[in-house]
Subunit: 203 residues, 2 copies
Amino acid sequence: MSLEHAILGFLREQAMSGYDLKTLCFDHDAAHFWTADQAQIYRTLERLEARALVSSKVRRQRSRPDRKVYTLTQPGAEELDRWASTIHPLPPLRDPFLIQLRFAGELSDELLLDLLRSHRVALQDRLDTSRERLGVESRGQSREVLLHRLTLEYTTTVTRAAIDWVDDSISSIETAIEQDRPTAAGVQRRLFSPRTQPKGSAS
Amino acid sequence: MSLEHAILGFLREQAMSGYDLKTLCFDHDAAHFWTADQAQIYRTLERLEARALVSSKVRRQRSRPDRKVYTLTQPGAEELDRWASTIHPLPPLRDPFLIQLRFAGELSDELLLDLLRSHRVALQDRLDTSRERLGVESRGQSREVLLHRLTLEYTTTVTRAAIDWVDDSISSIETAIEQDRPTAAGVQRRLFSPRTQPKGSAS
DNA sequence: CATTGCTATATGTCCTCACATATACTTGTA
DNA sequence: TACAAGTATATGTGAGGACATATAGCAATG
């Protein structure tokens, strides 16, 4: 499981509590390539401890709830290395926006374009965030920092490409709408408008 | 749910059985942006019928098992339109390969590069497949065909970008390895090798 | 003094998805 | 004639993940 190994990876870098993993690691470091909610992290830690891949000890704190600090064990480190050196099959793409686009045939032209424009805004926001992090977090030449930088560059590269695709798609659709419009002779050359739109001169 | 609406979308285009949805739609048409196994499709159809978004009738066949053909109902069409015109939040990126890369710090240089090269092969295969489909399936100017083409172009664009990223990453790592090598003076300038590698002159 | 917010862990529940298996009849092949 | 492969639907089960809620003490704010 990916989450299990992500946790093992973070614990290799530093012994931590579940709370730290959530707030420091999954909400920040790994936020651009993997998310996990708190319940999931705690239950995964339990499972990892049951399998002796991590161990925990409670550290009492005055004026704070106790912390359960998890440490990577030797078997845990071995499992992480084994997993990290295994070639895993590429999981299939899975994008709900493409379902939406694929079946947007009945939408009005304006609604369809709005959908794409909103998608672009969301992607641009993601791009801005990852670029900002690239500038701030990627100083240094250690192997760890380089690998971390590469994951951030992945997000920026792929998101940039997605934005380009949105722009091209908007252009394609606008062109199709243009060609669909009545020409000077008032003849509808191509039926691009959705079927729910008026089709001829009726109404 | 995305799968529900994908099924509604396919049924709007053509009344079909669960078997058809699996073999004709999800294994081909939608394979580049959403996959679904057979059990999932059948159970989703049951749920959709219980909510009256689709209706079914059994068509007896000689020399074949009966077919349960599903048709989109009016409420189903309305639900599809409603969903398709709603702006949905962008789901977070989620890529197991980036976890692997992020925690590949202990791997040998060669293993790390092999991982990236294998990933590149898998991506190239995906790119070839989607390009081929773009050439074959995207003839025509109807709105449906255009939208379908756009989804295929998404896959090619984003996959192409991912391949470029892999290539850049391989270069970055090779450069780092190069800089890590002992210089003419035999001095290790930078610790790029993983910690499990020999660190100094010990043994 | 009351409320909100932060630190910290834990549990319940539901949904989606994946994998395996069962059934049943037919056609094509060895 | 036996076996595999195709057509077609259905069920069992478990993993992974999302959301909500509970508990509990302390700090800061109004």
